[in-house]
Symmetry: C2
DNA sequence: TTAACATTGTGAAATAAATCACAACTAATT
DNA sequence: AATTAGTTGTGATTTATTTCACAATGTTAA
């Protein structure tokens, strides 16, 4: 069966962000090659990606910014929005809190958790911090489906299991370990060490060994 | 010509990290299926990846931990090590500084830059902060090839161009924009917004739509 | 009207990556 | 020695993703 490529999902989110910027600049239409340039890809790939959501452009004016944004929202968002929890209020956790705070209307961090009593009950970047013990009840009670893990490597696996047990269905994992969870939980790893080593590898090789992306 | 898949590079770095942990636990040998479990993959993929660096195991004992770590180092590292610069000392920049500080011997942040005079000349997480004006001279002078960008979206493109002009060959980009640089510069995007939206998308769908990774 | 133009949508081809599947191998056991 | 058990290395295959290439289309201008 023809399902949507995983990579397309990420790019659709990127397209929407770019389009929102263009809309703010009062742009009403654009062509696949313009979006491709902004997103760092090819026009053909943009068209393929947009095929996935069934939004049709027009050979004369390309795509309508407003309509495409709406279609993307229809495809990517759930009608009721998705609250998110974050676990681990260290340096990275706080930076991520500040990064996401107030930015996305349909995807916002509603609670943060940490096992350190010293961090609990404070409000950081507009987000209330709770002790780990309250995680299951909060997640289950609010029907939260998305979690962000920013705890040290050694604590990530048990934290992930707690999130999964409480009903979370997708995890953004910043801890530098691979999580072992049931296959119906989606995990996206943000492994900064791995990313930096990859960059270092290609930075040190000849230009012809640098993949184009 | 059969060059090494890009994804393999990242995984080799992951394997090394896992192996270092195993070595610390005095494990001397392991099989592909063990490494696969730890890394979250299949044994066949592990073997394929290790083919790339030409390290041979043995059907009876699998791979020798010590020797494999050495081979990976030989493949991934440059003999002289690679100093790294970071640009943008906001919340995220500081978190990344603390994350990488002291961790990697051959890949360490030697200088941080920011355009805000208030942040300059301080030492944060053991790393000295300099004004942006000194970036070209420092990067060129020390022969730095790797940069990390943690500036706000609007400043990322000019910062990337400055890094490239100063001789940087690979960039780890945390700013939520796509950089436009000559093709011989390797860019790895760590787009947290995109990643979170992807997680949210799959968290909201049926289990059978969740890709296995 | 009609012709020219640049773009869309998409089948087909190409490329990249993962997986299958099995001969060859090593050590342990008989 | 010969047999067994379990793993490696890899050619072949499959799956995923990207790119090619072109008929169909909407608009502009003659």
């Amino acid at each position: 069966m023809n399902s949507i490529p995983e990579k397309t999902i990420g790019r659709l989110s990127l397209y929407r962000r770019l389009l929102n910027r263009l809309r703010a600049e009062d742009k009403t239409h654009l062509y696949s090659y313009e979006l491709a340039t902004l997103a760092g890809g090819t026009p053909a790939r943009v068209r393929r990606d947009l095929m996935a959501i069934g939004y049709n452009g027009n050979p004369a004016h390309g795509y309508e910014v407003e309509g495409l944004i709406e279609s993307l929202g229809h495809f990517l968002d759930t009608p009721q929005g998705q609250p998110v929890v974050l676990v681990g209020i260290g340096n990275l956790g706080r930076a991520i809190l500040s990064f996401f705070t107030g930015r996305r209307p349909r995807l916002y961090i509603v609670a943060a958790f940490d096992s350190d009593p010293a961090k609990v009950n404070r409000v950081i970047h507009g987000c209330r911090c709770y002790p780990m013990q309250e995680l299951p009840e909060t997640v289950r009670g609010k029907g939260i489906t998305v979690g962000i893990i920013c705890v040290p490597a050694g604590e990530a696996q048990p934290v992930a299991e707690q999130l999964a047990a409480a009903g979370v269905r997708g995890i953004l994992n910043f801890a530098p370990v691979r999580l072992h969870l049931p296959g119906n939980i989606y995990v996206e790893d943000m492994d900064m060490t791995m990313a930096l080593e990859k960059v270092a590898y290609f930075a040190a090789r000849k230009p012809n060994n640098v993949p184009g992306k």
